[in-house]
Symmetry: C2
Subunit: 295 residues, 2 copies
C-alpha cells in the first residue's frame, strides 16, 4: 500500500468516526429516515473531499478536530447530492459503491428526505461553535459552501447535466457543467482548509488553482473509466453517458486526447503547489492519484 | 379589510420584493431551474412565517432590513418543504395555492433541484453579513433554523407523516408529528425575531409558548378545513387524510372537540404574550386569525 493509500485509509477512519458521532438517531416513527441517512453516508466511498480538507488545513496548522468536523459536513453534502442524483427522475441509478442506491434500498420518499436531512445537517454542524470558536470563520465556511453547493454551483451543474442529454455540446459547455457539478465542491474542500487557517490570499489562490485542475482531472478520469472499466470494478453502472446520448470529455475529445489533457491537468495542479513546502506533498500525491486511479 | 389583513398584505409585498432580489437568475442550460425556483416561491402564499419574523422582531426594535432577509430565508425553507412534500413519491399533490405543483408545471427532477436550491440559498442568506453585522447572531440563526428544519425537526415530521398512513395513532403521536412537521418552523419564525433582537430569556420563553400554541392551532384548523372546505376555496385538494387512511386531529377528536381545542390554544397563545405591551397586538391578531381562517 502506498503512503497515500495508507494516509487515505487512516483519514477515512477518522472521518467516519466523526460522521457517525454527528448523525441523528432515534426509535420513533421516523426511524427509517435515520437508517437511510446512515446507510447512504457510511457505505464506504473514497472520502476524497474530506481528505482535501484535512490536507489543506494541515498547511496552516489548523486544529484537526475542527478540520474533521468541516470534512464531515462536506462529505454530507456530497452524500446528499449522490442520493438525489441517483433518483429515478434524475440519473435513475440502481448501484452506488457496489450497493443498492438509497431509493432502491428504502424508497424514493425516504431517499429524498435523507438527502434533505444531510444537506441541512451539514449547515448545522458548520454553525456550531464546536467547529470553530470564531463565528466569523463559521459564517465564511457556511457562505462559501452554500455558494458552491447551491443554484449557482453544484445544483446548477446537475440541472445542466440533465438538460444536456441528447444535445450537441461544445467542450466549453461541458467544462462549465463539470466545474459546477463536481468542481465547486472539490474547490470548497481545499478552500475550507485555508478559511479555517486564516490563510493569506496568495495561498488561497494557489489552492484554488490546484483545486480547479484536480476537479477537472477527476471528471475526465471518470469519463475515461466509464468507457474502459467494468461495473464490477467501479461498483456503479458503466457506459452510462453513451446509452443516454450524453456528451462528455471522452466522447468529444476521444480517448487519447482526453488522456493527454488529464496528464496536463495533473502536472498543472502540482505546479500550483509550488508556494508550499513539503507539507503539501500529500496534496501532490492526490493529484497523481486522481490522474491514475482505477476506480 | 381588517388591520391584520392590511398589515399582512403590506408585509407580503415587502417580503416578496426581498425574496425576488435574492433569487438566482441566468440564461444558461440551467435556466429552467431558476424558473422553477421563481414559480414555486413567488406564486402567492399567506407568508405567515415571514410575518411572524417581522412582528416578533418589532418587539425588540430590530432593523427591518435584517428582519426581511431572515423572513425571506424562512419562506424559502417553507417553499422547499412544500415542493418536496408535493412530489409523487410523497403526498403526490397536483395543486398548490390554486396552481399546478412545481413537479407538474416542470418535472420531478427540476422540482427536486428547485427545493434543494431554496434550502441551500436560505443558509447562504443567513450567513451573509448583510443579514446582521454580528456573526454570532448569524450563526445562532443558522443553527436554530437547521435544527428546526432538519432530521430532528421538519424532515422528521414529514417522514413520520408518511409512515403514519394506515396506522392507528394516539393523539400524542399526532401532536408530535405536527410539532415537528409544521410547529418547528413556526416556532423558529418567532424565535428569529428574538435572536435578532438579543432578547432576554423571559421574552424568548414567552414567544416560544406562543409559537407552540399557534403552531398546533394552525394544524387543527388545517384538519378542520380539510373536511369542511372545498378545493376551490383552499386552492388544494380536500379530504386528503381520509382518502389515504391518515389519522389527524379531527378524525380522532371529532369536529366539535377539535374546534374546542382550537379555541383553547388560541386563547392560551395570547396569554403567553402578557409580558409584552401593545407592540404585540399584531401577534395577538395572528393567533385569532389562525383560529378563524377560512383558507
Amino acid at each position: 500500500m502506498s503512503d497515500l493509500e495508507l494516509n487515505l485509509k487512516n483519514a477515512q477512519k477518522e472521518v467516519d468516526k466523526t460522521i457517525k458521532s454527528l448523525l441523528p438517531s432515534g426509535k420513533g416513527l421516523e426511524k427509517k429516515l435515520f437508517e437511510a441517512i446512515n446507510y447512504s453516508i457510511l457505505s464506504s466511498g473514497k472520502r476524497i473531499r474530506p481528505y482535501l480538507v484535512i490536507q489543506s488545513s494541515k498547511l496552516f496548522d489548523v486544529d484537526q478536530k475542527n478540520a474533521l468536523r468541516v470534512a464531515s459536513s462536506i462529505e454530507m453534502i456530497h452524500a446528499y447530492s449522490l442520493i438525489h442524483d441517483d433518483l429515478p427522475s434524475m440519473d435513475n441509478d440502481f448501484l452506488r459503491r457496489g450497493l443498492p442506491t438509497t431509493h432502491r434500498k428504502y424508497n424514493e420518499a425516504t431517499a429524498i428526505l435523507a438527502g434533505d436531512s444531510l444537506l441541512t445537517l451539514s449547515f448545522e454542524i458548520l454553525s456550531d461553535n464546536l467547529t470553530h470558536n470564531d463565528s466569523k470563520i463559521r459564517c465564511e465556511l457556511i457562505y462559501e459552501l452554500a455558494r458552491a453547493a447551491g443554484a449557482n454551483g453544484m445544483v446548477a451543474g446537475q440541472m445542466m447535466d440533465l438538460e444536456a442529454e441528447n444535445k450537441k455540446l461544445s467542450i466549453g459547455v461541458i467544462t462549465r457543467i463539470q466545474r459546477l457539478k463536481t468542481g465547486a465542491l472539490i474547490a470548497f474542500s481545499c478552500n475550507a482548509g485555508a478559511i479555517l487557517g486564516r490563510a493569506e490570499k496568495k495561498y488561497k489562490f494557489a489552492l484554488q488553482g490546484y483545486a480547479h485542475d484536480i476537479g477537472l482531472a477527476y471528471q475526465i478520469r471518470d469519463d475515461l473509466l466509464d468507457v474502459t472499466s467494468t461495473t464490477k470494478k467501479l461498483g456503479k453502472k458503466v457506459n452510462k453517458d453513451k446509452k443516454i446520448g450524453k456528451k462528455n470529455f471522452v466522447s468529444i475529445l476521444g480517448k487519447e486526447r482526453a488522456k493527454k489533457q488529464l496528464e496536463i491537468l495533473g502536472n498543472q495542479a502540482i505546479e500550483h503547489l509550488e508556494v508550499f513546502d513539503s507539507r503539501a506533498d500529500m496534496l501532490r500525491e492526490i493529484a497523481r492519484f486522481i490522474v491514475e486511479r482505477n476506480k
